[in-house]
Every structure is written in C-alpha cells, then in structure tokens.
Amino acid sequence: MNPRRVYLNLGVFAKGYLRSRVGLFFALVFPVILILLFGAIFSNSSTTSVDVYVQNLDHNSPLSLQFLEALNSTKVVHLHFVSPSVGNLSKWLAANDQSDGLVIPAGFAAGYFNKTPVNLTVITNPQDATTSGIVYGAVDGVANYFNLQRANGTVILNVQQLSPPTLGGQSFQYIDYLVPGLIGFSVLTSPMFSMVNISSEYKKEKLFRQLSLTPLTKSEWLSSTIIWYIILTLVSTVIMVAVGQGAFGAKVTLSPLMLPFLVLGPILFTSLGLLAGSISKDPETAAVIGNIITFPMMFLSGTFFPVSLFPPWLVTVAHVLPLFYVIDGLNAAMLYGNVGTALFDMAVVGILALILFIASVRVFQWREN
C-alpha cells in the first residue's frame, strides 16, 4: 500500500464526485432535508398516550381507584386493566407483546393512610427511553401529588421502576433519535448507492482496466475511495447535528465516541457496495442487488424510528443488520453516553468492516479472467 498513490487517487475520485453534484446532493443535502422533514412532522405533534397495563392488587380499594383516575386524567397514559389472577405482570406483558405496566401492591390504601412506605412498580422497556420516560414521569407525578396531600411531601408512595431507563431522568424526544438515526442512514446510503453504481459502471466502461494499467493497486483504490466516504460522512454528520440542534433543539452531543462509527461505518458499507457491484454482471443487476441489501437496512435499523418501538420479532431482525450496530452505537455515544454499549457495537462494526474489506478486495477484479 503506497500512501502517495492512495492520496493521488483520492484527489481524482473526489474531483469526479464534487464535479458531478448528484452524489454530493445525496451525501450532504439529502440527509439535511430528511432531518428537516421528519423533524417538522414529529417534533410539534404532542406525544400520543402510551398504553399502560395496570394490575391492581389492592382489591380495587377506593384510594387505588382514585390514584388510577388521577393517572388517567394526565392523558399521557391510556390505562388498561389486567386481572390479578394472571400472576406476574412482567411475564404477562412479555407474553402479550406489551412493554409498559404498573402494579398497585396489596396494602396500598392501608399503607397510605398509615404513612408506611408503599412501593408502586412501573414496568417499562429499557430500550425505549421515550415511552419509559413518559410512563415513569406520569406515575411519579401522581404519586408525588398523593404524597403531598397526605404527608406534606414525606415519601409514602414510592415509585419503583422495574427496568429503569439509564437516562438519569432525562427524557428524549423523537428528534433526539432522528439525528443519530439519519447519520446512520447517510453512513449506509452514500457509500452503498454510489459504490454499487461505480463498481459496475467502471467495469462496463473499462475504467478498472484503465487503472489496472498503472501501478495503482486494487486495495489502494478501495482505500482512497473509503477515505473519501469517511470525509463525506464526517462533514454530513456535523451538518446534521447542527441542523438538528439549531432547528429542533435536539439534545445530541458530538462525542469522540462517535468517531469509530463514522470511520468503521463507511469502511463497512463501501466494501459491501463494492462487493455487491462486483458480483453483478451489469449495472442493472447491481442496482437490484444493492437495493435488496440496502432497503431493509434503511428502515429496520433504527434510522427513522427507534428499534424499541418495533414488535419483538422485528427487533430480532434488526439485530442481524449491520447498520443497527452503527445506529445503536451512535445513540449510545450521542444520547446516553453509554460507553459499554458503544464499545460492544464498535467491536461488531469493526469486525464486519474488516471481513467485508478483505472479501471485497478479493472478489473484485481489475482484470478479466
């Protein structure tokens, strides 16, 4: 690998890209449009109420009913009642594909009147910070009100969260997920779509043949191409974060933990795009193969909606898609500051990137056999 040749080819590749404008539009302008569009659609609409399944173990005592009615009047939750006879509510929720629940314990009313602490249990989906924040916040708010009424603020009703979100009480809005999601979207689409096209078009137009008649090697060519997509990704990330923060007040932070994803992601998807283009006989087939790979990933990896909103089987599907780990890692880096998750995702993306880089250099041929 000769760095000088990588640099020279980067120059020619970048010129071709910048002078064509179409590629530039998709890499830089399109993600911004998406942020503005989705941000505008979702950021102003009030959050729809969350379904919460309530198991009242206090034998429908008047106080418990009063409490639930107060909770219902917040309008942010929509209560459904589950019979105490179903047993453990967490298990029941899991069995019924639901995530949010509340258990009013036996002795709720008695404890309240005797001023002995009572634990209310809120069950939420830890992966879905938005809804868990809403449910927890609503129950906690009503409990505080009851505490004030009875005991001047001494805690009697204690809200206990069964899978507490790791957010330190902060709740996130749709736009906060949208920014990392759309960064992931452009990490995927800008190299994938152009590489699929380039690799088959270069083959057809014999441009690989032309390059093979120079000392440039295949891996030098691929490396310079990857560097270009890393540069584009970094630039578009900064733009999208700025637009998200500026236009919608997104609570995202630029963290150094993002960098590995902004580097490994383009390596992964540039290689994958080249691989898809190389195994295709002509540009038309390449486009089809590229779309088959790209589209499911584009929608099922948490780009436009948090994966936690998916039904469980779709969550399983998402975990098979490489982009999921890029977006999950970006969320961990930009929203939660969760280093552990970020490192795990980084390892997954890194290993996939390495495998795909090697595979694509092997499979893709300059010369004809």
Partner: protein, 316 residues
C-alpha cells in the same frame, strides 16, 4: 532468443469457452520496431494484445514481454508499457492535464504535462473535461497517458478507428516520432493504409491465425500476383490471347487481364493484340496492393461507408 527481442510469442492459444480466439500464434518483435497486427474484426487482435499487456490470462503457449511474463509480473511490466486499449475511456470529470499529472504521480515520474499534451496536439483542450472532448481528442488523451511513463514498449489497439483524417494523421505523427526515439510499437489496425504507412513489419491475422508476415513489400511479393496488364476489350480477345500465349489470361466485364512474368511480356502481348484486329479502348498495368493480398488471404472485401481510407470492416 536474442537480446533485442522485446516481445516473444510461441504457440499462443486463447479460448473463450468453445471459441478459439487465438489459435497458435508465433511471433518475435525486435527493439525499435513498429509492428502492425492487421486483421478484420474478431480476428483475435485485441485478445492477443491484452494478453501481452497482462490484462488477460492465456490458455496456453509462451509469452514474454521485456523478458517478463505479462500475467504474473503484471505490476512490474506495466511500469515499462504504454497502452491505449481498444475503446479508451477515462473519468468524465477529469481534464487531460489532471489525468497526465495523476498518471505521472502513479508512475512516480516527473512529467511535463504541457509538453506531453503538446506532443499529441491536445494543448488547446488541456483543461477541458474528458466528457466534453471529441472522439479524436479523447484518443489523443489516451495517447498522452500512454506516454507519461516514457515506456519502452507501446501497445496501441486500433488507435485511429473512427477518427477523422486530421486526428488520424496527428496520431500517425506521434507513432513515427516514437519510432525515431527507438521505442517498440505494437499496433493493431484494420486500416491497410495505416499498416503500410507506419509499420516496419506487418502480420495479417485471421480467425486467430497469422496468415502472412513480413514487411508490406515482402507480403506483396510473397502473396501477391505478378504484374497484370489490363485491356478494355471484349472477351473474345481473351480467347485469342489464350491460344497464342502461355500466360494466365482472365476475362471479366469487358476487361481482359494478363499476368506478366517479365517486361518483355508487355511487348509480346501488345503485338498479339495488334495482330488480332479486335478493337480495344484502353490499356494499363497494375500491381497487387496490400489490400489485394489482404482480400485474397482473408477473403473479405473493403466495406463501403467506413471512415477509413482503406478499411477492412466496420468500426470495432
């Protein structure tokens, strides 16, 4: 094998599936030669050249260029080669000047882009994007790129096909200057004029086989007919001459051709024509051209409508 041998091919065979594109070619090209591969479309010219450039593996046979195996030692050999592939193409948005600088960098050469572009007469278009160049200008850019690394051997695959006469002539000029610089040039063409004008030696290739080889004069001498005396006269003159002469006589459309062995034959034939009393309107002598030989060996005629001066098939 001698030291001046730059390209050596022995029993080269290339199959594409069931199709034998190159069928046992032998040839040897010396340093400083301009060698033309002349053949109709599909003869196997490009296949042979691409094997020599290291772009394609061969099915069997031995091939050496500058003492290297083109397929195995590709990256080493490429540094000493200048190539215009058939249908040369480049990146749309890049200008000739940028392309030359790019190539110079890749080859690690300190090239004067302006001088190279001037040499191929592309200096006016040095800063225009490839996509805006005409066919001839694109081809000149290809030639400029082939010159960047000051190659010892150049492979030019149909460098003038489809070009206008002016562009063709400036490419010919560059090829002549390459020859005077002592570089070896392997040229493929289906234009006879091009081979005849530029090449020290020509090989005529058809169906993957070399059917004639040597200088254009050698080929005509070996494969051409002797001089022919041609008379505008009715066929009965042919019958008369046949009865009196031991020379081959042909009649066709009011033309009578007599193949001559020597200069004295001219006088003998004309005397007999005078004696026959058959009226004739014109007389001329002619010799086989490379084209006559080519048509006879390859069995194809010049297609009309081609841009070429004397072409043997459509473009490509």
């Amino acid at each position: 094998m001698n030291l001046a041998e730059v390209i050596a091919i022995r029993k080269l065979i290339k199959d594409y599936g069931n199709l034998r594109a190159v069928d046992g070619i032998d040839l040897s090209i010396q340093k400083g030669e301009v060698y033309a591969f002349l053949g109709p479309n599909g003869a196997g010219k490009t296949t042979t050249v691409e094997i020599l450039e290291g772009l394609r593996p061969r099915t069997s046979g031995e091939v050496e260029v500058l003492g290297l195996d083109p397929w195995k030692d590709n990256k080493k050999l490429i540094r000493q080669l200048g190539v215009i592939p058939q249908d040369f193409k480049f990146f749309d948005k890049i200008t000739p000047k940028e392309a030359v600088a790019f190539y110079a960098g890749l080859f690690g050469k300190r090239a004067d882009a302006d001088a190279i572009l001037k040499k191929v007469r592309l200096e006016d278009k040095a800063s225009d994007r490839y996509e805006t160049l005409s066919g001839g200008q694109k081809q000149k850019m290809g030639l400029a790129l082939a010159l960047v690394n000051e190659p010892a051997v150049l492979f030019l695959d149909e460098p003038t096909t489809g070009l206008d006469p002016q562009a063709r002539r400036s490419i010919w000029e560059v090829i002549r200057s390459l020859r005077s610089e002592g570089r070896t040039v392997f040229l493929t063409t289906h234009y006879l004029e091009e081979a005849q004008l530029l090449a020290d030696r020509v090989a005529i290739i058809n169906h993957g086989k070399i059917v004639a080889t040597g200088s254009p004069e050698d080929i005509i001498r070996e494969h051409g007919r002797s001089e022919v005396l041609s008379l505008q006269a009715p066929p009965k003159l042919a019958d008369y001459l046949r009865s009196k002469l031991d020379l081959p006589v042909r009649a066709e459309d009011h033309t009578v051709d007599v193949e001559l062995n020597s200069n004295e034959d001219v006088l003998r034939v004309l005397t007999l024509v005078q004696q026959s009393g058959i009226p004739w309107t014109g007389v001329s002598t002619r010799q086989d051209t490379l084209e006559d030989v080519f048509i006879r060996l390859v069995g194809k005629t010049t297609e009309s409508g081609d841009v070429g001066p004397a072409s043997l098939g459509g473009a490509k």
